[in-house]
Symmetry: C2
Subunit: 367 residues, 2 copies
């Protein structure tokens, strides 16, 4: 397999960098579609900052603030119709993974005529609007990836649209919008980012460049473990987690994710377990599984966290995640059959078969 | 200052990756201009590999193999005229920094009508041909930077053309072409890459992403120090140095270089001292100079190399560089006056004044 690295998004970072990026916004076009959720972008000040920049630039905008957690296909078709009606020139997304991923899908559907049954087939033309993404959680890394993950009721899981045209033009990183994030979201998103970097290290597509970025991201997140336990983070730590999650995004933009994500999607789809938490629940046992064939690789990951054994890592995750949800044998069987169809399964250094998947679910959830 | 990260070049890496990238070549157009030097690309097999891929794709090519070390402005105008005559669709450069930088300048001049006195002014349109760069030394990082450094006789130094349009479309990294590089070139180019990463850490434009990449690059190079002393490198170490030099290129693509490069250009221009060596001669004393104001930053760099003091680093460089060239007071005065005009001087965390520059030259060269 040829090893590749590609990440063409321009990253702008630092305190108040939305305000100091007015030229970046002004070069994008006359009218923006702002894609976000109902509340958070209003509460954390990001929407206000962006609207001020657009106003001072004399740019127009239309607001689509209907993105829910784990956005649906219906929602992005609705957003695309709105974008067409409003005749926008570019797209700004503000929020966590849900608004950012939804914005990418809305963009694709506003520019290209794609029926729902062909939405995930990867056969797209090059037409797309430029995007500026402003993450307000430190987890998804969507601001630097070519993926849009949507809830796919037909397949009863979450499915990715993946295309190089979905790389945003610009990602703007200001951790001040994360100042008041609740502990639970902070922890779950940090675990999501950690999972991206760890899965990137365990991917067949890993290469020396993604390894370098992944290990640094893992180190940055692990330096915040103690504060994550209490939920008391300094502004500096918020920046560390934000950079770490963007670095982790740069990793999976190239390595894709692995079985952990595929398995976690069932936990989110059927049990409404937060995406980051779902990854965290499965990550330890997946590491144990890979360790049997690739002990050195797992040891490299553990050592970046200052840990010696996978059990130490699981203990740490237990402290962050609290009590685990239980699954019945029937549920596990169902989720394994869904997971086994996912393409991400084959990205792992070791490909788990259905028995392995059953075992990982069981050991993870029914301890 | 807003901190930024941008590097849109696709990197393909691994053994025999030229051969396995025929699709990448075929998508670039009908006819290539191959830019290289007189000999090395023929001797190390890279030219042959590329021509085979082009032939099997049914693509045409024209060869411009007149690039000398530290290419001149005349040389790139000649190459541009040749590119226009041959009516090429894309450009392939093979070699060290000289052919790669020259290819970028040739590309610019083939697409845009720029008189010599406006060559370095940064005012270019967006017109450019796509480029594939194949480094055959592990030092310059040009395969992932937006810079083309040329010998500028008018300014009696080397000067950079810098523009985002000069980012290559693709960089192809195969260390097998470095198998028979002489010890001196291996050492000098490794020091060049090390200098890029260290200068990137000492740049005002450094940011958490470039720091992450720079530190990993420094670690990779320092793991090869002992083998660099003997000149006996395994294929794996060659890859390590190649990746490290590309990582270092990703750093300076964002941070630019600092006073070390500006000062080194005089050593190359007036004394024909190899570019990497020139940086190595100055790097230790520059670190000492910055350490006075930013001890923590310098300590972070030293610790990535497993060293405790700048003097240990200078001892190590001495082992790699051998006897240092001497400069007269008049020469130093002249080079300081040239260096002081360079824009890179102001990139450093601490900006050296002319007295500082005199001191750094003296301590570096007349030990």
């Amino acid at each position: 397999m040829i090893k590749q690295y590609y990440m063409p998004t321009q990253i702008i970072m630092g305190e108040d960098c939305v305000q100091s990026s007015n030229k970046v916004f002004s070069e994008m076009g006359k009218k923006a579609l702002i894609v976000t959720g109902k509340n958070s972008a209003r509460l954390n000040g990001s929407l206000d900052d962006i609207i001020k920049v657009l106003s001072s630039n004399g740019q127009e905008w239309a607001l689509f603030d209907k993105i829910m957690s784990n956005p649906t296909i219906e929602c992005v078709y609705e957003g695309a119709a709105f974008a067409k009606t409003e005749n926008v020139d570019f797209i700004i997304a503000i929020g966590g993974g849900s608004p950012m991923d939804a914005a990418k899908a809305i963009n694709l559907l506003a520019c290209q005529d794609i029926p729902e049954d062909k939405l995930f087939n990867g056969q797209y033309s090059e037409e797309i609007l430029s995007m500026i993404l402003v993450p307000t959680t430190a987890g998804t890394g969507s601001e630097v990836t070519p993926y849009a993950v949507l809830t796919n009721n037909r397949a009863q899981t979450k499915t990715s649209i993946a295309s190089h045209i979905l790389f945003p033009k610009v990602a703007i990183l200001d951790a001040k919008y994360m100042e008041n994030l609740p502990k639970e979201i902070t922890v779950n998103t940090a675990i999501d980012a950690l999972s991206h970097s760890i899965e990137g290290m365990l991917s067949l597509r890993a290469n020396p460049i993604t390894d370098s970025i992944a290990l640094d991201s893992i180190r940055r997140i692990s330096r915040c473990f103690e504060s994550l336990k209490t939920g008391e983070l300094t502004r500096e730590q918020r920046f560390e987690l934000l950079y770490a999650s963007t670095l982790a995004g740069m990793v999976i933009a190239n390595t894709k994710t692995t079985a952990v994500h595929s398995m976690g999607y069932s936990l989110t789809y059927f049990h409404d377990i937060d995406h980051g938490r779902a990854n965290g629940l499965l990550l330890g046992e997946f590491l144990k599984y890979v360790e049997k064939s690739c002990p050195d690789r797992v040891s490299e990951i553990l050592s970046a966290m200052g840990l010696s054994t996978v059990n130490e890592f699981i203990t740490l995750l237990d402290e962050l995640l609290g009590e685990r949800e239980n699954l019945t044998d029937e549920q596990i069987e169902k989720y394994v059959s869904i997971t086994a169809k996912s393409s991400n399964i084959k990205n792992s250094l070791v490909t788990p078969d259905t028995e392995d998947l059953v075992q990982i679910y069981k050991s993870s959830m029914n301890k």
